[in-house]
Structure formats: C-alpha cells, structure tokens
C-alpha cells in the first residue's frame, strides 16, 4: 500500500482542525508569526549579523557563522518535529490497532513533518533577509540552500535516530549505556530522549561544513558545492533506509511508548503517588496558590518531563559558555540560564491548555491566583538549573582569581539571567489565560524577548 491513504487522513485532520479553531484564532495564528518575524528582523540583525557593519573582507567568516547557526536551528527543530509527528504523533493511537503499512505511515508522517518544517525554513530565511539586502541575493540564496539541506538532514536523520532508538530501547547490550544516561527515567525513555543527540551532532557537522561551502561558492570556489549539497544529498540518500527501519520499528514503537507510560504509572503508584520534585515549595505559599502550584508541578513532572530535562541541558550549556576567562562569559551563561525559564514556561502553557474542562467550568477559581501559580512554578523549575549555571560560573572565577571574583561573576550571571527568567514567568501567566490559543503568542514572545536579550547581551 502507498502512503496515499495516510496522507489523505492526516491532511483532513490538519485542515479541519484549523478550520474548527474559528476565524479569530486563524487570524491570530497567521498574524502572530508575521509580527514576530518583523520584530525579529532587527534583533537578529543586531545579534547575529553585526559583522555586516564591518569591513566586507570579514563577511565570509561572518556569513559562514550565521548560515551555520541558522542551519543548526533548522536541523534541531526538524528533529523535534519528527519526534512529535512520527514517534509520538496523535495518529499512532488510531493506527496502531490497524494492520497499517509502516512504510506508508512513516512516509506520510515525514511529509507532514516536512510541511511543518518548511515554515521554520521560510521564517529563518526571512530573518536572514539583511544578508540579501546588504551582501546580495546570491549570498542569501546560498544560505537558503544551507537551511533546506539542514531540514532534509534533520527530518531523515531524526526519523532514523528515533525509530532506531526504539530498536535499542530494550536491548540488553545497550542497558549499561542507557543506565548512565537515564537518571530515574525508564531505559526506553532515555533511548528516545537522547536519540536525537547523535543524529543532530552528525547532521550539525555536515551543516556547518555546508555553511562554509556556501561561502566558498560565493567566493568562486566550485568545490564548495560539494559541502553545500552534502546535508541534503546524504539525507536523501538515507531516505530508503527510513522505510526499512519503519518496517522493523513502527509497531514496536507503540509498544515501547506504552511500556514507558506504564512504567511511569507503576513507579508513581509506589514512590510518587503524592510526591514530585519541588512540591515542598507549596509550604511557603498561600493555600489558594499552593493547590494550583501543586497541580502544575505534578502535571509537568508526570506528563512533560522531556521539557524539564531540556532545562538541565540548557544549564549544562550555560556552564560551558560561562567556563571561560572572557569578561562576556558570565553574561552569556546568564542569558542561556534565563532561556531555561522560557522553556519552563512552555510546560505551564501546556498545563493550562490540557487542563480538564471541569476545572474551569465547575470549580471556582481566581484567575490571578492561577496566574500567580504559573509564575511560581516556572520560576521554581528554572531556579535549580539557573543555580547550577551561576555556581559553575562562580567556581571558574574562584579558581582563576578568588572568592571576590567568583561572587562578582555570579552576580553578572544573575543580572543577565534573572530578568529573562522573571519575564518568562509573567509571559507564561499572561498567555496561559488564552489556553490552547496562548501557546503560539507565548512562543512568539519568547523568540522576541530571547533575541532581544541576546542582542543586548552581544551589544553589551
């Protein structure tokens, strides 16, 4: 069977879900990305394209860096979209009880993921428009090729990595490696959560080479085309493998995901029936706020742990950024730690979106109390990784100079990160009042605020 029937039902689902949202939501959905792009253009120009203000002889390295970063962004998003579409897509629950053709399903879902990723490629290309206007359209078009190659590599690499992870999830040979990574997650969850790391690393290397290739082509080096084409060509060359891996792993993935849910449930019955990390914070909160805080903490920990794991990855990145003698290190580390607050805000937004209707309809609640709970939870989730970053940055200062320098560096980190973190809590509280429609404007706000902070940090 071809992918046609699966493509057809996925298309119907998508189009009718959009139509069911109502005209107002559709307008907001169309306008918000445009507004975000308009706001992002000057911010990206300041933060990532400031080399254009310098001498044209330095543009090559600047363009390679900008195309490379933009390509890495697209590559990462494409992998995450594959995760949300192919592995954990809503269609799986329906199709896993039918004798579907796994190749057809994965082909249709990959095309759906490609459609979603195309918007990311287009948006990223738009914020790179200053390259077209100040360097030339040829340079911009080469940058666009880097983005397209990154998208193909991210989609195909992500599908191979995630479906491959299903294979190794319960393999005894992989158990020691997974035990090192998994923390208190089940092994299959660790396999799936970290699956994108190797594919993104390999794809990232190709994308960075492609960015350099693009600059080479711009300078007249014909061998640059080889590096420029590599991510897309390698991705397309690996595409037939996706079908084979799908045959072996698509049905198995449903089993592995069900096992993960069941194992969490079993763990929760025994050890976590009442407790989740940070639930002690409610001791210091008024009871009215505390009960909503507890709801958010439980929801986030039990349903959206991947996002909370991402906070710690960001923190690790923050420590690496700040582990330097450069004066700008603490500020950059603080900005990254502040970004963790915005990731935590996504969990609060998802919590509001998925809140059962009876909570809103039949239980009395004060919207300000609910908003205060969102702020408290976002700050609580982000505070621990932020402390790790500040501690790491301070330690470097202590080792290099002494305690006074360590404290000063920690203060600079906090100064850069805390406003971002506070804003994340407020934005999450504000947009959560829009429930399911709040996620898009929240993400738009996040993009603008983070880009502005990065721009200011860079300018500072």
């Amino acid at each position: 069977m071809s992918a046609a029937p699966y493509l057809r039902v996925l298309g119907w689902q998508r189009r009718r879900a959009a139509a069911a949202q109502g005209r107002g939501a559709r307008v907001v959905g169309a306008v918000v990305p445009l507004v975000v792009l308009v706001l992002l253009l000057p911010l990206v120009r300041t933060a990532f394209l400031s080399f254009l203000d310098g001498d044209a002889s330095g543009w090559g390295a600047g363009l390679a860096g900008a195309f490379g970063r933009a390509g890495l962004f697209v590559l990462t998003v494409a992998g995450l979209v594959v995760h949300a579409t192919v592995l954990r897509g809503p269609a799986r629950a329906v199709m896993s009880l039918l004798p579907v053709d796994p190749r057809g399903v994965v082909t249709a879902e990959l095309l759906e993921a490609a459609r979603r990723t195309a918007w990311v490629v287009a948006g990223t290309a738009v914020v790179l428009l200053p390259v077209a206007l100040e360097v030339g359209w040829a340079a911009w078009a080469l940058g666009l090729l880097v983005l397209v190659g990154a998208a193909i590599a991210g989609l195909v690499g992500g599908a191979l990595a995630l479906l491959g992870a299903v294979h190794v999830a319960d393999e005894p040979g992989w158990a020691p490696a997974l035990d090192l990574l998994r923390g208190n997650n089940p092994r299959p969850q660790a396999a799936i959560v970290y699956a994108l790391a190797p594919s993104t690393a390999l794809g990232g290397w190709l994308v960075l080479r492609a960015a350099q290739g693009a600059v080479g082509v711009l300078g007249g080096a014909s061998d640059g085309w080889l590096a420029l084409a590599a991510p897309g060509v390698v991705g397309l060359a690996l595409l037939p493998l996706v079908g084979r891996v799908a045959d072996a792993a698509w049905f198995e993935a449903s089993v592995v995901l069900a096992e993960i849910r069941a194992r969490y449930a079993a763990v929760e019955q025994e050890d976590e029936a009442r407790h989740v990390p940070l639930d002690w914070v409610i001791r210091w909160l008024p009871a009215a706020v505390g009960r909503w805080v507890l709801l958010d903490l439980r929801y986030g920990w039990r349903s959206q742990r991947a996002w909370l794991s991402a906070l710690w990855l960001l923190a690790a990145g923050g420590v690496l950024l700040g582990w330097t003698q450069e004066p700008s290190g603490p500020v950059r580390a603080g900005l990254l730690a502040g970004c963790a607050g915005w990731v935590a805000g996504v969990v609060a937004l998802l919590g509001s979106r998925e809140e059962p209707a009876f909570l809103r309809l039949w239980l009395p609640r004060d919207p300000w109390v609910r908003a205060a709970a969102h702020v408290a939870v976002v700050v609580a989730w982000a505070a621990m990784p932020a402390l790790l970053v500040a501690g790491g940055v301070a330690l470097r200062g202590v080792l290099d100079v002494g305690f006074a320098e360590g404290a000063a560096r920690a203060l600079r980190t906090a100064g850069a990160g805390l406003p971002l973190l506070g804003l994340a809590g407020l934005a999450a509280a504000l947009w959560s009042t829009w429930r399911e429609r709040g996620l898009a404007p929240y993400l738009g706000t996040a993009a603008v605020v983070v880009a502005a902070a990065v721009g200011l940090g860079g300018a500072g």
Partner: protein, 240 residues
C-alpha cells in the same frame, strides 16, 4: 485459519514491583465467545493490551490465529478487530471517512453495513469530535467488525451503549461466533457475559481464578462463583 484463535502461554506482565499478570494461560478455540470478567485492577485491560500488541509480555507468548503478536504485529492485526477501553479515533473525520480509511487499510469493504449495524447512518457524515461517548464507541465497534476478522477483542465495548444497540451488537457478535469467529469480551457486567458467552474466564489480582463453560452453570451461578473466587483469592486461596 489455525484451530486455536487465541493462544496465551505462560504470560507474566510486571511493572517495576507490580505484577499485573501472573502466569496466565488461555487457549481459545475458533468459534468461541469468551467473557473475561474481573474486579477493577484484576489485569483485564493489561491482558487485552497484550492481545492487541499494544504492550509486550515480560514473559510468555501471545498468538492470534497462530500468529505471534509481537514478532509479526501487522499480520496479527490483520486477523484481529479490537476495541480498547478508550478508543482513539481521528476526531476531525466523520464516522464514514474513518470507516472508509480502516476498510482501505484492511483491504475490505462493508462500510455501509457496519454503519447500519451500529445505527450511525444518520450521523455518519458529522465529525467524530461532535459525537457522544456512545457514538464514539459504536464507531470503534464498526471499525473492529470491518472485514470480518476471525478474532474480535472488545474491552468494555458494549457498556454504555443504549439497550437496543447493545442487544443488536451482541446478536451480531453471536452470529459471527456461530460462523466461526472468536470473540473475547472484557466487562465488569456479569449479566452481559452470562447472556452471550460460551465460556467465562475470571481474573483476580492478575491470575486466572476460574475458567468455566456457561452451560455448566445455573441461573445466577456465575455471579456467585465470581464473588466466591474473588473472596478466596483475597484470603490467599489458590486459583481454581
């Protein structure tokens, strides 16, 4: 088709320290209507999720019409029509479109007949997201019956239907069993099982505590037996 429709051999299912199923053996010949009953948390839904390939046994093997569910999931699902406790459907499709998709995947026909059987005809072109729970269950039932699968597994699928619909579905299931299909119906409602099943399997705390033919029991005896076995299991008595 294999003479044995459902073959569950030494199945154990463990989550951490929780034993959901403990050494369950169940062999169901083709052309049998089996009722699966048990208290909340007895392991019924876990057993059904193993039969439909949604979970994997910690130990043991599950075969549908001779096909290993976990080694050949697609082949096993081609022989199986299933309704889980909480059926998942494409919310923005209509019942007719949903069934047409399922029929295309199964390579079968009979969409209109399935709509007639479940009396969804008048609402067949409305989006499923507008359906009541009962209508959603009927849609899932219609999907499970498409293509005359030799094995039908239903998890609380008749509960919640209006009495005429439930009676019609039970009659259709009985007709299919008489024609050689096998039905496993999991339910809390002992009367439903007593009325339609040839054989009743009772689960308690993950173990089979009774496996009897309904013809061997008098009126009302099934419920009494269920309560007796449950009490015995609770007191640490042996499975029977």
């Amino acid at each position: 088709m294999s003479e044995v429709a459902l073959d569950v051999v030494g199945v154990r299912k463990v989550y951490g320290r929780v034993v959901a199923l403990d050494r369950v053996d169940l062999v169901v010949p083709a052309g049998t209507f089996v009722g699966l009953i048990g208290h909340n948390g007895a392991g019924k839904s876990t057993l059904l999720s193993l039969l439909t390939g949604q979970q994997r046994p910690t130990e043991g093997q599950v075969r549908i019409a001779g096909v290993d569910v976990h080694a050949q999931p697609r082949e096993a699902l081609a022989r199986l029509g299933a309704v889980p406790e909480h059926p998942a459907l494409f919310e923005h499709l209509s019942a007719r479109e949903m069934l047409a998709f399922a029929a295309e995947v199964r390579g079968s026909e009979g969409v209109e007949a399935a709509l007639d059987l479940t009396e969804l005809g008048a609402d067949a072109d409305r989006p499923i997201r507008e359906y009541s729970q009962g209508m959603r269950r009927k849609t899932a039932l219609a999907m499970a019956l498409l293509g005359d699968p030799p094995v039908i597994v239903l998890d609380e699928a008749i509960n919640g239907l209006d009495p005429p619909s439930a009676a019609r579905i039970k009659k259709e299931l009985r007709r299919r069993v008489d024609a050689g299909a096998t039905v496993l119906l999991s339910t809390h409602v002992v009367e439903t099982v007593a009325a339609v099943a040839d054989r009743v399997v009772m689960l308690a705390h993950g173990r089979v505590v009774a496996d009897v033919r309904t013809t061997d029991l008098g009126p009302g005896a099934l419920e009494a037996l269920f309560l007796e076995r449950l009490e015995a299991e609770r007191d640490g008595g042996s499975a029977g």
